[in-house]
Symmetry: C2
Subunit: 232 residues, 2 copies
């Protein structure tokens, strides 16, 4: 699910996800706890169901060619100065979209100052990074490659590396067909944003929000009630 | 392709692959260079075509369940002490089965003493590690997890980590259905071997060895001739 942005504003979305999951899984509510008749309406005041399709993003029409390129870039450690880290190193799509570490380990085994947020559903965050300093994913994607404690690379070196591989030149040319010089750092970021926009994971909770009463068990509904009552 | 084991013996297979690729790509042979009429027969004295199916391995029948489990393990950084490295970190299947580094970077940013060999077609190596100290992949797979400069983990910790995840317990139980205690370090290694046995990459050279004259260009055949004449 995503938060109702006008309600919670800039608050990082991950806290909501994590706390919510904990509430749904670990609730010790008694089976006799009442489930409000208008639970869905109550929930919809705070949450919105994830969409069923890849969302549009600002100034970056999503195309299959950009997604293919962005997926390759997301998993490619050659974009880091060391050749060790890819986006997927800290935003591991096989383990919930992050690295399960308190703070990530980066270039030279340095520890970053903040926990890596999940890349799953990140396209719906109203801003990126924990302090919201990046407007969207295409702005965010330029950060970790250059951060000294993460990939420690430079835009020039990233582009030189990518241009050295004919397959990447071909992928960039297909994804940004109108550009005279398609292999640029801006396009690198746009392709990653396009791939990340596909990382949308509707769950039973979304089905419940969408009208399916049977999508959640009574215990889960009790947990949701408790979660909202406590103002989590 | 794979080397004829009786000819080259224990010589690491990767040298052959790499040099061969360089010869095929970078050959400056003149187009007038002759191509021996019996080129295929000459090549078959040294090389064998990769098989078209997943090969059998000793003491470890390959099953779909083991492959599923082994694939998950291969990509899972949670088997390392730091949570940073998976098998795929140094044997990256997206970049030729290795990490493109002179020597790999491991736990605490230590550099290993040797170049990471590719996991592609590694099932055909007559021994594993550059010094051949592991008999097969199931023996090899136990090494990097425990090496202090690589994943720096212990078998006990690996198994404790895996047992903490119900999905892994389910996967191990399905893959080793006859075992009273399926989540073991031996089975961990067998599952990885089963997955790695699927990493077989027949190429145009294999098609040529299998009888397709058109699979290689004249320039490639000249390169192959040169490669064999020089005794690479």
């Amino acid at each position: 699910m995503i938060e109702a942005l006008d309600v919670l504003g800039l608050r990082p979305i991950k806290i909501l996800f994590t706390t919510m999951a904990a509430a749904l899984m670990a609730t010790t509510a008694f089976t006799a706890d009442p489930i409000p008749a208008d639970l869905r309406a109550m929930a919809l005041a705070t949450f919105k169901a994830l969409p069923s399709t890849t969302p549009a993003v600002v100034n970056n029409p999503i195309t299959p060619e950009k997604i293919v390129l962005g997926k390759a870039l997301f998993f490619d450690p050659r974009v880091s100065a060391s050749g060790v880290f890819s986006c997927n190193s800290c935003h591991n799509l096989a383990t919930g979209g992050d690295d399960n570490l308190e703070t990530s380990i980066g270039h030279g085994w340095q520890k970053g100052p903040r926990n890596a947020p999940t890349a799953l559903n990140a396209v719906f965050n109203i801003a990126q990074f924990w302090d919201g300093r990046a407007e969207d994913l295409k702005a965010q994607a330029k950060g970790p490659v250059q951060a000294s404690v993460e990939m420690a690379n430079t835009p020039g070196q990233v582009i030189a590396t990518l241009k050295s591989m004919p397959q990447y030149v071909e992928w960039f040319s297909a994804a940004f067909a109108g550009d005279a010089d398609p292999v640029t750092f801006d396009n690198f970021a746009k392709a990653i944003e396009a791939f990340e926009a596909t990382l949308v994971t509707p769950a039973p909770f979304d089905a419940f929000l969408n009208g399916d009463d049977a999508a959640m068990t009574s215990e889960q509904k009790q947990g949701l009630t408790l979660f909202m009552e406590k103002g989590c």
